[in-house]
């Protein structure tokens, strides 16, 4: 009996965590086709037998779980659904080529509403030179569920997986962390106020950066491009979707290593800090950075020999280093104490 099974032999998904659940469910699947280069367990599957590999990934967004229609413009939603899937292609160091979009939708939505959604899908496709090549539409009992499959390419010598990080490698992160979650906090706050008083006009001025980070994230193909131009192939990479803590732990687990991340190195935007101080004196910006998620930044490791090259790149921060596995996945505080990173549980609803 597993330690998280209860007396009836029922294991609650919420106790297990998303990565652990997928691992448990897929560990008996052993690839047999010669065209399966890398299977389950990374940001994308890597397929094909030539020198250029095909990347495939799929991402679902469900109303009421991944977005709230009260404050999510449909055009932004379409953009974000595509951007999230493309981010997985970026996380393999690849180039995005195509997407397929499946929409399950209730009759609460009109064709005109879906046209807004598809306008956002089109904007993101256009921005990243990606073709919409398929998908389907069907009815749903409860709101909108949108699944995007993204297809990309990467040459075999540039594939970057979650596994591959080696001891003493430097841990790097693009952009800043926690801002998307801070945007969500602002939207939730305005929603509560609006619900109490429908005449209330939401005041979102001064929050534009964190709102855009939450509503309209961008996959970091600019970082992929910079890495290529500087001749650096990261030793491992993942995109920050669950939150830095969960994602760095996943990268370390796949690579069978430990890490030390320095709290004071974490890149945090001033708007994130401001939102936290407004929300509660107990809310620390570092918590948003560690557990907020949805930043869609790239978290990657490089050999120390590549440090000088990466140092010159725009908006890349070295936040720590890889350690031997027995060290665990640790964060070093400004007071120089070390605490173990903890991934937030997977919140299941209904």
């Amino acid at each position: 009996m597993s330690t998280i099974e209860n007396e009836e032999g029922r294991t609650e998904l919420g106790h297990l965590g998303k990565y652990a659940a997928i691992e448990r469910l897929t560990d008996e699947f052993v690839p047999k086709n010669s065209s399966t280069f890398i299977g389950v367990g990374d940001d994308c599957a890597v397929l094909g037998s030539g020198e250029t590999k095909t990347l495939v990934t799929t991402q679902t967004m469900a109303e009421g779980v991944n977005f709230d229609m009260m404050y999510t413009p449909l055009k932004h939603l379409g953009y974000k659904a595509v951007a999230r899937a493309l981010s997985n292609i970026a996380a393999m160091n690849g180039a995005a080529r195509q997407v397929l979009v499946s929409v399950a939708v209730s009759n609460r939505y009109s064709l005109e509403a879906l046209e807004e959604l598809y306008a956002g899908i089109r904007n993101c496709c256009k921005r990243y030179d990606v073709d919409l090549v398929g998908g389907e539409m069907q009815s749903s009992r409860s709101g909108l569920v949108i699944t995007v499959t993204a297809v990309g390419e990467v040459s075999e010598d540039r594939i970057t997986c979650r596994r591959g990080a080696g001891e003493y490698d430097l841990i790097c992160c693009s952009g800043d962390l926690g801002s998307a979650y801070s945007g969500l906090l602002v939207l939730e706050r305005e929603k509560v106020t609006y619900q109490a008083n429908p005449n209330f006009q939401p005041d979102l001025e001064g929050y534009d950066y964190v709102l855009e980070r939450y509503l309209k994230p961008e996959p970091r193909f600019d970082v992929v491009k910079q890495l290529a131009e500087s001749g650096v192939v990261p030793t491992s990479m993942i995109d920050v979707s669950q939150g830095l803590a969960s994602d760095v732990m996943q990268l370390c687990k796949s690579s069978e290593v430990g890490c030390e991340v320095y709290e004071e190195k974490l890149p945090i935007d001033y708007q994130t800090t401001r939102v936290c101080s407004e929300m509660s004196t107990n809310m620390l910006p570092v918590s948003n950075a560690l557990n907020g998620g949805e930043d869609y930044e790239l978290l990657f490791t490089i050999k120390q020999a590549d440090y000088e090259k990466v140092r010159k790149l725009d908006g890349i921060t070295v936040i720590g280093h890889i350690a031997e596995k027995n060290r665990g996945t640790m964060m070093v505080t400004p007071q120089n104490s070390t605490i173990e990173l903890v991934a937030q549980g997977w919140v299941s609803q209904e």
Copy 2:
């Protein structure tokens, strides 16, 4: 203003139909990548620049819409979700290689329940030599939504699309039609009886064929193989997912042709006929065949010159022929009158 827009400028999805909605939403997308060989509008996207093309397709099943947990064993559901996606690969005359499975799930489901689902996924993967190479899991507010992306291969000279049917081509169909829907009718009948009296023991004996057709459909790769062995490349092909009427109309629309389908040629199993006669004196087996859907048989057209080759294949029925576009999409009754085929509307819920 569209003719189906109401006075508020709102177009109801239910009035439009699934194929028409996708067409309206995607018609502004123009592929730009050289690796996009065929984009939106077929059973799969066809990608890649070599002689062997990559097929990609995605299919979603939502609880309460595509399946009822009261009578759908989770193992069958997993099998069916994969089989439906693979059927799209078969419909392009291709070979299936990989699948990615995304599951959105409420905390009503335990890990053990999902293990059942994945056992079914594994069975179908094993049966068709397909690798599970990825996917994700996340929470859902309402039940289970499962999206399967299937990846396959086809050589350029064997690609079979919805477009391509020419005048006088013969329309062929594998297996029989309407049996999956008949299975659903039996399950719904037993559910109603059970709800009225929970001590009631469902009696499903004698319905095994139609039940299996509904609960555990099989993609027709055996037909794809037979066609290859006999040296026949169909001029067009689609799988029967919406129902023969809707799917033959879609094939004709894509090919810019009309058709004549002969009612008395439609392959209908005796269990389908039996279920219809039990349900109501007004329920005609031909209606199930035309509009039931979910048969996952292959509907394809061949040149008349290939008739002798196809006649020798197992379980293939010639049900009609392609006509010029102005003829419309017609069914010829046993009384020799012709009636226009009508696709059932797309039923949206909530």
